[in-house]
């Protein structure tokens, strides 16, 4: 019995993809940071972070107004 018949369609697809990946020419990088740069470019930021940030930023209490003397003299004086 052929081995493929034991695999479900999803496994067969994965196996085919792996076999095709092995036939691809190897990637070559001059340095570690070049490889990391490639990895960075293929890394997606999860969408959830921006949504959480939007909510978290909205939940922050309003900033207190500067003291009257700071408003009068400007905020840069210490």
């Amino acid at each position: 019995m052929k081995q493929q018949s034991k695999l479900n369609p999803e496994q067969q697809q994965q196996q085919a993809a792996e076999q095709q990946a092995r036939r691809q020419p190897a990637l070559e990088f001059a340095t570690a940071e070049e490889l990391l740069r490639y990895d960075l470019q293929h890394t997606a930021v999860p969408d959830g972070i921006a949504q959480r940030l939007q909510k978290s930023a909205g939940d922050l209490p309003p900033r207190p107004k500067p003291a009257w003397w700071k408003r009068l003299w400007g905020g840069n004086r210490s």
Binding site: Q20, A21, R22, A26, E28, A30, L35, T43, P46
Partner: protein, 199 residues
């Protein structure tokens, strides 16, 4: 407005796609979130923790935006917050084993969504190897490599972020590259098809 540096040359998503309301802060997030998330992901080695860390770093930045004086670039300012945050997290965690707690699905979601299934498979495998190799490095080397991998940072900026001279960065980087190359090669399950680093 307190922001002096123009937020130009953005990459990736525009602010409308991030889900944040259009603002200077949304622009900041759009431009730098990938770099910060990547640093957190590869430094901490856990997508969920990296997601939390990225959220916390940008929230901190949001609260302190009015304290930014333009003495450094936005990127290095955010990196400084991120490095401190990740180091603090690391000190309080003992679960440094990278794949034991990581949810496989979260790793898959961390890959760029537009890639083909084949590319996703390759990139996932490559990402796992990179993470394994990085995890074998001392923290200092790992951080240096991740910072130098950001093409926007000079050795001077990396030195300032890691509190050492640019020459010290160069020296340590040389050793970090060699150590990484050895670990990366070791992590290859199929040496005859390896993704190679020349040095």
């Amino acid at each position: 407005m307190l922001v002096d540096e123009p937020l130009s040359g953005r990459e990736g998503l525009d602010s409308a796609q991030t889900g944040l309301a259009p603002s200077e802060f949304a622009d900041l997030y759009t431009e730098h979130s990938r770099a910060i998330y990547y640093l957190a992901l590869r430094f901490l080695g856990d997508p969920q923790k990296a997601e939390d860390a990225t959220h916390d770093v940008f929230l901190k930045a949001f609260r302190k935006m009015d304290q930014f004086r333009g003495e450094s670039s936005w990127r290095t300012w955010l990196y400084r917050i991120a490095i401190n945050h990740c180091r603090n997290l690391q000190q309080s965690w003992h679960d440094r084993h990278l794949f034991s707690n990581a949810d496989e699905a979260v790793w898959e979601n961390a890959l760029a969504g537009t890639d083909s299934p084949l590319r996703v498979l390759e990139t996932k495998e490559l990402g796992e190897r990179i993470q394994t190799a990085l995890d074998g490095l001392p923290d200092e080397y790992r951080l240096l490599l991740l910072l130098v991998a950001d093409a926007e940072l000079s050795y001077e900026q990396v030195g300032a972020l890691t509190e050492q001279s640019p020459d010290a960065v160069r020296g340590k980087l040389h050793r970090a590259r060699k150590a990484f190359a050895v670990l990366f090669k070791k992590s290859d399950p199929l040496p005859e098809h390896e993704t190679a680093i020349k040095t």
